[in-house]
Amino acid sequence: MVTTEKNLIIETKNVSVFYGDTPAVSGISLGIEREKITALIGPSGCGKTTLLRSFNRMNDLIPIARTSGEILFEGHNIYAENVDPTEIRYRIGMVFQRPNPFPKSIYDNIAFGPRINGFSGNMDELVEKSLIGAALWDEVKDRLRTSGLELSGGQQQRLCIARTLAVEPTVILMDEPCSALDPIATLAIEELMRDLSKQYSIVIVTHNMQQAARVSDYTAFITQDERRIGELVEYDDTRQIFTNPTDERTEAYITGRFG
C-alpha cells in the first residue's frame, strides 16, 4: 500500500457514489500522491469513471448521483457544505474520454478557461505556453484562428489538455484520454503525461494495461463484487501491481484472464 501519507494531494475516505439508490462504487479509500501519475484500472462498468468524476464534483451535474464519505483535497473535504464545486473544478481539471473541443477557434478554446476565471494577463503568451505544454504548438501555431473542430482526433485531445493546462489546475483527471486515438497519438499523449507529472498530479483511467504500466507511478485496481458494486481491490506501486500483485483478482485481470 502507498504509505507516504504526507504527500497526498487527494485522499478519499470511505467514498461511495450512488445513482438513485444503487451504489456504483462503495467504500473506496485511497490517496493520490502529489506530482505523480496514478492509474485507475478495472473491468468495464466497475465505476472508474464514476469515482474519477467524484474527485472534482462532476457527478453533481448528474441529478440522480449522490456521494457519501469524504474526499480531501489538500486536506479539506470538497463535499463539505460551504465548498463551491465551481472552485473545485477550477483547481482539479478534467480531460474526457472523447475529445470535446468547443466549437470555437483554437485560440478561444484555450482562452475560454482563463477568461471565465478572470485572467487579466497576457492572453497570447498564456495560449502559447499552454499549447507548448500540450505539445501542440508547432502543429497549430499558424492557424490559431481556425476552428478547434478542424483538428484531427489526437490533436483535439491535446487541445483539450492544453485547455485544461491554461487554467493551471493542481490536479488533472483523465478519463481514458487515448481511447479514441491511434497508437502514435497515444504515445504522444503518454509522453506528454510524463512531462506534465513534473508539475501536476495526474489521475488517469485506462483500459490499456500496457499504458498503465508504462506511464503510471501507482495503480489502483477496482472491480465489481457479486452485487455489481465497484470496490477497491488493490492499490500499490505500479511495478508491484504488475509484477507481484497480492490479490488473485488483480493478477487474473492484469494477465487477461478476467474482465
Binding site: M58, T86, R89, M94, P101, P103, K104
Partner: protein, 294 residues
C-alpha cells in the same frame, strides 16, 4: 447450404428495389402537388395584382376610391406590431426555454408547465384576441393601440418560441457543457458562452417562424379592436392602427372590383415581406452555423 439461396435472394432484392421506387414516386408526387398549388396561388395573385403595384400603392393611405387606395398605414402598422411582438416573444420565450431546460428541477411541476405550453401552442388564435382585449386593452388600459396589438401577438407566438428554443437548447451536446464546467465555469457562464451560441441558429429559426406567423394574423387583432380604415400613420406605441392582413381582408370583402385588385397587390407585398424575413433568417442561420467564431 447458404443461409439464403441465390434465387430467393435475388427475388427478394427485386421486391425491395420496387418498394424503394414506389416510395420515391410517392414523395415526388407530394412535392409536385405542393409546388403546383403554390404556383397556382402565385399565378392567381400575380396576374391580378402585379399591375396594381406601384410606389404610390405603398405610400398612399386607404381611400374610398379603389385606384387611389394604398397600404401605407397597414404596412407601418404591421411593422410596428410585429416588431413589438417579436421582441417581447423572443426575450420571454428564450428566457423561459433556458429556465425550463437548464434550471428547472425535472419533476411533476416542470412536466405540468411543459404540457401546458404545448397546449397553448394549439389554442385558436382568436382566443388570444379575446385575452388581449381583456388584459391589455381593458385591464392595463393600453387602449386599442399598437402596443396592445403587439403584446397580443407576442402571447400568441410565445409558445412557438419557447418550444423551438427548448429543442435547440436540448440539442446542445452534454459533453460541451461538461467541458465548460470542468474548467470551473459557473452555470451562467456555461449557458451564456456555450449553450446559447450553440443553440442560437435553432432559436433563430423558431423566432422567425413565430414572426412569420404574427405577420399573417388577422383574427386576434380584429377581436382586440384594430381598425380597418386608418388614414394616418401610427405615430407611437399608443396610436391606433391596422395591419396588412386586415387591410387585405377589408378590401376583399368590398363589392367593387378595384378593391379586389388592390387586395391582390396587398397580398403580393405581404408575401414579399414574409419571403424577405425567411431569407434573412436563412442567412443568419448560415452565418452562425459556421461556428468558428462566436
Amino acid at each position: 447450404m447458404a443461409l439464403i439461396t441465390e434465387v430467393a435472394f435475388h427475388a427478394h432484392m427485386r421486391k425491395r428495389k420496387i418498394r424503394g421506387y414506389v416510395f420515391y414516386a410517392l414523395c415526388l408526387t407530394a412535392v409536385a402537388l405542393g409546388l403546383v398549388m403554390l404556383a397556382a396561388l402565385l399565378y392567381n395573385v400575380l396576374s391580378e395584382g402585379l399591375s396594381r403595384l406601384s410606389w404610390d400603392f405603398i405610400t398612399n393611405f386607404p381611400s374610398r376610391f379603389p385606384e387611389r387606395a394604398g397600404i401605407h398605414a397597414a404596412i407601418l402598422g404591421s411593422i410596428y406590431v410585429v416588431s413589438i411582438a417579436g421582441l417581447v416573444a423572443f426575450s420571454l420565450g428564450v428566457g423561459a426555454a433556458i429556465y425550463l431546460e437548464e434550471y428547472a428541477q425535472k419533476g411533476t411541476f416542470a412536466s405540468f408547465i411543459q404540457l401546458n405550453i404545448a397546449n397553448l401552442a394549439g389554442v385558436p388564435s382568436i382566443v388570444y384576441g379575446i385575452l388581449g382585449l381583456e388584459i391589455f386593452v381593458r385591464i392595463m388600459e393600453l387602449g386599442k393601440s399598437v402596443i396592445a396589438g403587439g403584446l397580443t401577438l407576442a402571447l400568441l407566438v410565445l409558445p412557438i418560441v419557447i418550444i423551438a428554443s427548448q429543442e435547440a437548447i436540448r440539442a446542445v451536446p452534454p459533453s460541451l457543457k461538461e467541458g465548460g464546467f470542468a474548467l470551473g465555469a459557473t452555470k451562467w457562464q456555461v449557458v451564456r458562452r456555450l449553450v446559447l451560441p450553440y443553440a442560437f441558429p435553432g432559436i433563430l429559426t423558431g423566432a422567425i417562424l413565430a414572426v412569420s406567423r404574427a405577420v399573417g394574423e388577422t383574427a386576434p387583432l380584429i377581436v382586440m379592436g384594430a381598425l380597418t380604415f386608418v388614414p394616418f400613420a401610427p405615430d407611437g406605441p399608443m396610436s391606433r392602427f391596422t395591419v396588412l392582413p386586415i387591410q387585405i381582408f377589408n378590401w376583399v370583402s368590398r363589392p367593387q372590383e378595384g378593391f379586389h385588385v388592390a387586395a391582390a397587390a396587398g397580398i403580393i407585398v405581404l408575401l414579399v415581406v414574409l419571403l424577405t424575413m425567411n431569407a434573412f433568417a436563412v442567412f443568419l442561420r448560415h452565418k452562425f452555423q459556421k461556428g468558428t467564431q462566436w
